[in-house]
Point group: D2
Chain length 109, copies 4
């Protein structure tokens, strides 16, 4: 799954300059930061509802779909603010010393 | 940044069995799905507020920190439901044909 | 401002039976509880964003408008579950002993 | 249920000046607008989760409790911004012509 988020971050940055008529991401940027944040909040709510439904039905397909929407729109937000997924993942790595694990792993293949 | 999320997913799965007295992740699982979802919602709100503050101050440090919290707790939710970051990233890859790009890249190094 | 919420609660209950083609409230009920809850979450996000904008602009018009949307949709949710604004207001009154104040007030006009 | 929100609005305004050590409302104001908005978002999430649980259990007690928390903290937000419940209720009344109904009612008792 490795570099998908990195590539997606690049795609999102490129689409900031695209035509809002044809690019969904460009249309979000044209509407402004509040519109992007509304989408983040909306997808968060849909994620919570999907998780509650999964708790009862055992069907987790919608949880994956809604979490993908949530991460996607939070990446549009990051891009809007000059950030990218690497910033978030570096932060997570530093908290859990996962970068350290990664270094060790690359030394002991 | 590649495999950090994958490793973090493994750490989160392992900590489901840890002692709730010493592991934050285990303590969330002990409190149940609603507690985990409350944290996802809480971190989403904090992300939105950090983004609004960054809009005015230009200071984006808190956006990174809060988005990391949001992704982290959504990964605890995924783990709770027997899912992991790979499910979400595969979904994102399929939407953007990023897996395709990845295949091509691996064929043309 | 007294009985507006009570009347609105009655209107919302009546519209549960209305034609989803012509009544917005009936259309929400036709789509189900999740759709109603998505609207509650959406209006909550918009309220937070309006409050952050008001913090900087001093312009509070949108805060009133979005909070009205939030209360309105939470009342649709209450109606969906066989509840009404009176249940919530009785709860608030009991917490703050406001019902007590009200009794005293009616005794000392 | 009439004037409970109006009285609560007055109580909330008065407590802005109270001691943060002894008043919960004053402690929220001392922490600032973001803290108040975090509480609004948090209570919204808890309302959604309570509604989902009520859907399955038929037990609506927590929905009332969490909606009361949501309205309460949104009233603290209004108070913070120099607004009050009357502003929101006037907005709702004007949308539904409920003030008009009220006038007619007072003319025909």
């Amino acid at each position: 799954m490795s570099d998908v988020l990195e590539r997606l971050g690049q795609v999102l940055d490129a689409r900031k300059q695209a035509d809002p008529e044809t690019s969904y991401v460009a249309s979000l940027h044209a509407k402004g930061l509040n519109k992007i944040l509304e989408k983040v909040g909306e997808e968060c709510t849909e994620t919570l509802l999907a998780a509650k439904d999964a708790e009862h039905s055992g069907e987790t397909r919608d949880v994956v779909y809604e979490t993908a929407d949530l991460w996607f729109h939070s990446m549009v937000m990051l891009s809007r603010l000059g950030l990218g997924p690497k910033d978030v993942i570096d932060e997570l790595a530093s908290r859990f010393d996962l970068s350290g694990l990664e270094e060790k792993a690359s030394r002991n293949p």
